[in-house]
Subunit: 609 residues, 2 copies
């Protein structure tokens, strides 16, 4: 074994070293690879997750994966889709269990494109990212580990991080320099340990769970549903999987047990025997046992996500969640940790934002993790106090939202659906998200009637693309490109024609936020470039409140805006949620159908303007 | 070179030899491979279509490809989608062209899942089939050709066809025996020639077309649309393609020209120069020229599709169409030729039907080809007489159908949309499709109110699958499996409970059509088998006019029917086309929402019952 000499040796330089190729590391890699950054990505495992693991993919995460162009690679595996959760409870003693209700996992009051949870083996999700990375020339180096790192901006302001890497069998070592280091190695993060960052446990209760994937034979009628089953013999959670498989979760121990021990375990046979008792009067037999694992789990959040804004943590390295029936947030939170960091690194490194922007990563993402945990605890508590009546669930699942008659339970239930579907995640007011009480007050900001909320996702809408008459999903029209999305809702074209001209003329000015952030290579950009012809930080889409046949791009759009001709839409599709609207997309956003308005979206989340 | 000795030699036996791996041959191969037939498939070309060619995939063909499980493999290439066709005409002499209207290619009155034409290079479509065939162990043997065949049922009743095959370079030969031979080699079919079958030309007019694929730069606003452009300098058709490409069709010669010659040609440069003139005042430049070809084309239909019901023809070997702006039927007709033959061969070979069933292939498919040609001619004539007013097109595109006020033009226009979308294809009354005047008269057959038409496609509908609460497309729930589909619409469960029991009991009887066609291996069928647990010829789905939460399969479905538990649905999804219906799927089919009814579907087309 030979280490490369450190004297006379120039280490290879990277924009970022990413440690760990689970969901968080792969998402960060994928986002940055698309923007052209130089990435060193390692993983300690010899191959992607071969079996088991994986949370479900939330409705909101599927939006995100689609925006990254990965949805079809995931859906081709025909994952199970959970639309409803069934609850089973004991009948009389000794008489087994009975279904006491079913709830929609993403009820109609949430306007989701994909109102279901997608369940797929984590390795297949990882492989979708890995195949995509290959197109950009990024390969995960395995099985390699990180053995140490230093970060010193004074010694090397451009590449302050030095990272030491080693093949797991010790046969090879590398030392590289990078602008950033990202620790996405999971709960036992080496990077977090080296930084001396602790974990705070919000809820002192810990659990040991057994989890089992396999093909079964049963007469239990809800075996293709997600089920929470309570019985006189214990509790179990059923999760349908791809390829006829079923996953069962059984709680083996809880820190509230008198004989609690975090290393308590159980064999697969013991868990199967328990499952048979719990499911009575139904029968269950295993045809194959694909995966079985026992693991202790507690809720905890890393105290810091970074110390110096050069070495960052994300995903399970920052937060572990309990496995409540309505939770399962790990992977979904990881996706968004990564994309939050990715666009901020891009904005800083490409010269759009001050380095201080990176300081918003920790508070934004830590607050999300904290809100999720706090909510999870609140909900579990409320749930353990009493089970809601079917009428309450029905009322809560209706299309209406924020009804004044809602009782506390219904309010909490609705909130829980928003959290578990991913649409409840919100960023609070900060430097990026102006609140209504921000000092910059104007009736033009957050205008009356808007249904869009700063720090939240944009509302989805169907529109007709003008250039080819395709009916498309507006919110997906701009792929993940690291840019802010400026949606110009014109309202009635005749009403807004002058405002549109003024806007274009302002954008074209050299001192505007737009004109002062043009691409260095603007004169050599191909005419096929649809999204970033002028600036790497802004993509502009225009939506006319008019039928497609009445829109003529060359006549109706001032020069600068007409360059985005592939992103010009007619708001002429009917929408069931606003059945009387003339321009449904305008109406869904709460933008005036006559006067229009401008919506600025930070990637797929709202930006304050 | 050595030929295998024909004495002392037992040739390899196949169920079928398929010659030609274009759309028709590949579809036949794919259908039969799924049913386990032994296939010898050869193609004279060394590789699939490398560039160019291809018609668009019609909305109805996309339904079919989805049913075969091939849609996602095709859509992953991001094909262009044509929702509307734009018409451009000369302004005043010398002033260039102007858009005179746009038409939906599949207007709202057609209830299509995919109301657009999908445009994709034929080689990518072929490859989707070829990858799928590999899963079933079928490989296309290339570049091989057929050099001769004999068919003699008397000499060998089981494998009457002997086929001689040869590598195109003559280095290798094979003689094989088969039950069937299929000639899908295109317009210059060797098999057709050997059979001495002629082609009848319905329309004496022939054309020479130039076709050109490439990436272009233009300020023509409809370059992403399908366009028909007439100008003082000639006519052109624009078709958007995948990967920023555009296809242009230019008519080089017509047999109506005074100097007509079928071998008249033009260089790519000449065609480009013509295009530039035609598109004035807009400019056009080619960045790449991907494919260019000149070909003569006429309308013709093969006089026979088979002589002995052992050697069959299909696809372009049987019919060539002109290239009218609203036509482009070749590949779409080929798909359905193949699936028509496939299920009939299966029904005969698996012992369900008498060999006489094969006699329905030619009349059913030949009539479709004839109707298409006849319609095409009628439409082209009407179209050349006068262009419809915008108001007429608007009226025709409305959701209503069969309006009494419709004038002739609107009626023809509507009919044309049905033809070009693929939903106009219908099989007339025959042994398989009973007409209302069939001698078997009963108010139970074709009951009053039904919106389903014998010989046509089943209407689509969204329903909720009971076992997992997934919202699904009913018409796609049974994959292509060579079986008749029996859809039991129960109506109100309490009303139909007894009828349902009686039906199940009848089906279970040994002498029923169902009980007398059970699988030989019925006792060893896996409990995972969803579609054919009892019979290879029937798959049964049940649709309750009730909300999912009120359906309990073990209680509501008699034993035999509950075996199809994965195909039990709640008709509880709202549909905009029947907004007031309680059970929308029932209402869309025109099945009584209270009393229910049984719909029998021949694969994806209606069967008479």
């Amino acid at each position: 074994m030979e280490e490369r000499p450190s004297s006379n040796f120039q280490p290879p330089y990277y924009d970022i070293v990413i440690v760990g190729a689970g969901p968080v590391g792969l998402t960060l890699s994928t986002c940055l690879a698309r923007l052209g950054y130089r990435i060193k990505h390692i993983d300690i495992r010899a191959e992607p997750t071969p079996r088991g693991r994986a949370d479900g993919i939330q409705p909101r995460s599927l939006d995100f994966l689609r925006n990254l162009g990965l949805k079809s690679a995931i859906m081709k595996h025909k994952p199970a889709r959970v639309y409803e959760v069934a609850f089973w409870d004991p009948v009389e003693a000794g008489k087994g269990i009975v279904r006491t209700g079913t709830w929609a996992s993403c009820p109609g009051f949430i306007d989701a494109r994909y109102p279901f949870t997608t369940l797929l083996h984590q390795g297949l999700i990882e492989r979708a990212f890995i195949s995509d990375l290959e197109k950009y020339g990024v390969e995960v180096q395995r099985p390699w580990k990180i053995t140490g790192f230093t970060s010193d901006e004074k010694a090397n302001p451009e590449y302050p991080v030095e990272v030491r890497l080693e093949h797991v069998d010790g046969t090879n070592r590398e030392t590289v320099r990078a602008k950033y280091l990202f620790g996405g190695e999971g709960a036992r993060s080496f990077v977090r340990e080296q930084l001396g960052i602790g974990i705070t446990h919000k809820d002192p209760i810990a659990h040991v769970w057994g989890v089992m994937d396999g093909v079964i034979k049963t007469d239990f009628p809800d075996i293709r549903m997600k089920c929470t089953i309570h019985s006189d013999h214990g509790s179990i959670m059923v999760i349908p999987r791809e390829n006829n498989m079923v996953r069962l979760y059984i709680q083996i121990a809880s820190s509230t047990d008198p004989d609690w021990h975090p290393r308590k375990t159980a064999t697969a046979e013991e868990v199967q025997a328990s499952a048979k008792k719990i499911l009575q009067p139904y029968t269950i037999e295993w045809e194959t046992l694909d995966w079985y694992s026992v693991y202790p789990i507690g809720q905890g959040i890393s105290d810091r996500y970074t110390l110096d804004h050069r070495v960052f943590l994300g995903g399970d390295a920052c937060h572990t969640h309990s496995l409540q029936p309505k939770a399962g947030q790990g992977m979904n939170t990881a996706f968004l940790d990564a994309q939050n960091l990715a666009w901020k690194i891009h904005a800083v490194e490409a010269g759009f934002a001050d380095r201080a922007l990176l300081k918003t990563y920790e508070p934004e993402r830590k607050e999300v993790a904290e809100n999720l945990l706090a909510f999870d605890n609140k909900y579990a508590k409320l749930f353990s106090e009493r089970r809601p009546a079917a009428t309450e669930v029905q009322a809560a699942s209706k299309h209406t939202n924020g009804h004044s008659e809602d009782n506390d339970f219904i309010k909490t239930f609705k909130e829980s659906c928003e959290f578990t579907s991913g649409y409840g995640v919100a960023y609070g007011p900060n430097a990026l998200n102006w609140s209504p009480s921000h000092p910059a007050q104007s009736h033009l900001i957050h205008p009356e009637g808007t249904k869009l909320r700063t720090g939240r996702l944009m509302v989805n809408a169907d529109v007709t693309r003008v250039v080819d008459a395709n009916v498309v999903h507006l919110e997906q029209q701009i792929p993940w490109n690291g840019s802010f999305r400026i949606y110009i809702f014109t309202g009635k074209p005749s009403t807004s024609a002058t405002a549109l001209k003024d806007l274009a003329s302002h954008l074209g000015g050299k001192r505007s936020f737009f004109g002062s952030n043009l691409r260095a290579d603007i004169d050599s950009v191909s005419h096929h470039e649809r999204y970033n012809p002028h600036s790497l930080f802004f993509t502009i889409a225009t939506i006319f409140a008019a039928p497609r046949s009445e829109i003529e791009i060359s006549r109706d759009l001032p020069g600068l805006l007409s360059r985005y001709r592939d992103l010009v839409y007619a708001d002429d599709k009917w929408d069931r949620r606003v059945p009387d609207a003339i321009a449904a997309a305008h109406a869904k956003m709460g933008v005036d159908e006559e006067k229009g308005g401008v919506v600025v979206v930070r990637l797929m989340g709202m930006w304050g303007l």
